[in-house]
């Protein structure tokens, strides 16, 4: 039985202008698989195609060519979308909603009934340490608090796949540590996580497997354990591997 949550084969994405003339080739035929239970790191320098890949996986962009399946379904299928949670690079919360309303809103959009949504919202706000501020408008929250609300919103429907785009971007060290611990605990509970980041130390800490993209192509990848085992400097193993792959 195929245990892959995400399967991408020969994925090509070319952005076109108004007259359909090719503007930029963001992805040039990438293949990758994310297995159930993986914490999968999608790494690469700016403009390498990470965000485009994620947007295609989320069904927000249509591929030019190639095949993408999410839980064996097309990414735009509602059944597939019902099983994923997404945390974007910035939290993008509605500033006029309170933390509780925000999480309930996304719970509702995910199809949770009112009672379950209330229970799950309270649980998550408690877990994120936001219970005391749950009735404050998120427009007045610090970046770290807003990130926690966004995390709660992404997790509210108990997704099987969590897609995290730069989850520690702009966070202070303590908040970064909290996020990493959260990812580890989610992985321990069996959740599959697809994560992109430029923070290679953090990625080495949380990921089980990585793929490195450069200029729209896969230029390296493997399990973090193997990469660390083969490295002369295990503390900087992923950083060295990344630099070697991208500059090759």
């Amino acid at each position: 039985m195929n245990d892959n949550i995400i399967e991408i084969t020969g994925l090509v994405k070319t952005f076109r202008d108004f007259w359909f003339r090719p503007l930029a080739a963001a992805l040039k035929g990438i293949d990758l698989q994310v297995a159930k239970g993986d914490v999968f790191g999608l790494l690469g320098p700016n403009g390498s195609g990470k965000s485009t890949t994620i947007k295609i996986v989320l069904g927000l962009l249509k591929p030019t060519a190639g095949k993408v399946s999410l839980f064996g379904l097309p990414p735009r299928d509602r059944r597939a979308r019902a099983r994923l949670g997404y945390l974007p690079e910035l939290s993008y919360l509605h500033p006029f909603l309170t933390a509780r309303e925000t999480v309930r809103y996304y719970a509702g959009l995910s199809g949770l009934d009112r009672r379950t949504a209330h229970v799950r919202t309270d649980q998550l706000l408690e877990q994120m340490g936001l219970a005391a501020n749950s009735n404050r408008a998120v427009g007045g929250f610090s970046k770290g608090m807003a990130r926690k609300v966004a995390f709660a919103a992404a997790l509210v429907a108990k997704p099987e796949l969590l897609v995290l785009d730069e989850p520690t971007s702009g966070l202070d060290p303590l908040a970064t540590r909290d996020v990493k611990e959260l990812i580890r605990s989610l992985a321990a509970d069996g959740m599959t996580v697809l994560v992109t980041s430029h923070q290679l130390f953090d990625m080495q800490d949380v990921c089980s497997r990585v793929t490195i993209l450069s200029q729209g192509q896969v230029v390296g990848g493997g399990t973090v354990a193997d990469i660390v085992a083969k490295s002369a400097d295990p503390r900087h193993a992923l950083e060295d591997y990344f630099a070697a792959s991208v500059q090759a």
Binding site: G59, R81, L84, Y86, P88, Y92, H94, L109, A153
Partner: protein
């Protein structure tokens, strides 16, 4: 849909759109009556007050709803929140409907408040209360287009008809003949009698109950402005006398006659005997209307506000469609330009009915104006403020048709399109 509704409602309430609208309503009701000038009659004062106060509120509500709708999808997309919504397993159509319903709810609250203020603080001229509205019954004549069609057939069959007319575009000639038929004058010479068919089925109950009726009529005279008109009017069992009046627009009370022969009763025609010395001209399709008491001003106000709400529903659906397709400034600009075009096109069509003498470019313009006028008639045709101001009862069947189209059919189409586009344009253009 429920969650999207709640979100959009929170945005409108906490974003102070509702508060600003309510403040605008209060200001209009408080300040504008001082600036209203009328012809000095109670009816004229009420008409001007209705046009100036509830009328201005209605225009504000429609414009604000349109402009706000133009931002609902576009703003979410620009701030990258739309993508977060659309990665969830929610239907994009449900999301669009939620936003649309929130706009309707806000418009409904504002119109309700405006109505309450209208009834609580009526104009000073309405000392004896706001007058009841009246049904308007027009002569029962065959449709002008059918009459024009028959006329055209007879012209084409007539060997004396000039070749130029026979070779002209059939639709152009028909349009011209239809307009001529609508504006056709019947001339009643001194001592002559003219009859206009007036099916009174709709009025039968009122006739049986002996309710007072009136005839609204505009007399024109042939060679002299405001020559005195005199004559007798008969409408089924009702009669009235017109004695040497020089007024062109008249409202003539009709009295139930004691002795009317059954034959005359059954004719149900409006008959005018010209007993004066001047030939009288009447356009039967424009100048004659039987007025019968309907219900109170308050009920008519409710129906008028429902019409405005139906217009707001259609405009907000259109705004949401633009918002899903375009960036916010472009959507607002397009919406406002369209709104102006929709308001102006009917008068262009009415003022330039004859396309025979026009240049080619003018003919294209006329054809386009007619097409736009036809497509947008659900927005431009209803005139709730004018009806309320003149005391014309807004009829429930007419209102039902408007609600069906503007609240159910057209918004469904527009919101489906909006949902389709929103899903394909969930990300900003530069992303």
């Amino acid at each position: 849909m429920r969650h999207s509704f709640h979100l959009a409602l929170c945005a409108l309430v906490r974003g102070r759109v509702l508060a600003l609208l309510l403040a605008a309503v209060a200001l209009v009701h408080w300040l504008l009556p001082d600036f209203v000038r009328s012809d000095g009659t109670a009816a004229g004062a009420l008409e001007m007050w209705v046009r100036a106060v509830p009328g201005v509120v209605d225009v504000i509500v429609l414009l604000v709803v349109l402009v706000v709708a133009c931002g609902l999808f576009a703003r979410e997309r620009e701030e990258k929140r739309l993508a977060l919504t659309l990665v969830r397993p929610a239907h994009a159509l449900g999301v669009a409907y939620g936003k649309w319903l929130a706009l309707i709810a806000v418009a409904a609250v504002v119109l309700l408040c405006s109505s309450a203020l209208t009834l609580l603080f009526p104009p000073a001229s309405a000392v004896s209360g706001l007058p009841p509205c009246r049904h308007h019954y027009e002569p029962k004549m065959p449709p002008a287009a059918d009459v024009a069609g028959h006329l055209l057939e007879s012209y084409l069959a007539d060997p004396k008809t000039p070749e130029a007319v026979k070779k002209a575009s059939r639709s152009a000639v028909l349009t011209l003949l239809t307009t001529k038929e609508i504006d056709r004058y019947d001339v009643v010479k001194p001592g002559a009698t003219m009859m206009w068919p007036y099916g009174l089925e709709a009025l039968q109950e009122k006739i049986t109950a002996g309710e007072p009726l009136a005839l609204g009529v505009r007399f024109s005279t042939q060679f002299e402005m405001r020559a005195p008109v005199a004559g007798k009017l008969r409408l089924g069992p009702y009669t009235a006398v017109v004695s040497n009046t020089t007024q062109s627009v008249l409202e003539i009370p009709l009295k139930k006659a004691d002795a009317i022969s059954p034959e005359k009763d059954s004719q149900l025609d409006l008959v005018f005997d010209n007993t004066g010395k001047t030939a009288v001209m009447v356009r039967p399709r424009r100048d004659l209307v039987v007025l019968a008491r309907a219900d109170s001003f308050a009920w008519n106000l409710l129906r008028a506000q429902l019409e405005v709400l139906a217009l707001a529903a259609l405009l907000s659906a259109y705004g949401l469609f633009l918002s899903a397709s375009l960036s916010r400034p472009v959507a607002v600009f397009t919406a406002l330009v369209t709104f102006l075009i929709v308001l102006m096109v009917p008068s262009v069509v009415a003022q330039f009915p004859d396309e025979f003498n026009a240049e080619f470019a003018d003919r294209i313009g006329l054809a386009l104006s007619r097409a736009v006028s036809t497509v947008t008639s659900s927005v431009s045709a209803p005139s709730p403020v004018a009806d309320l101001a003149t005391g014309k009862a807004i009829e429930w069947p007419e209102l039902g048709r408007l609600l069906l189209g503007n609240v159910f059919v057209f918004p469904f189409v527009l919101l489906s399109l909006a949902a389709f586009v929103a899903r394909r344009k969930a990300l900003p253009d530069m992303d």
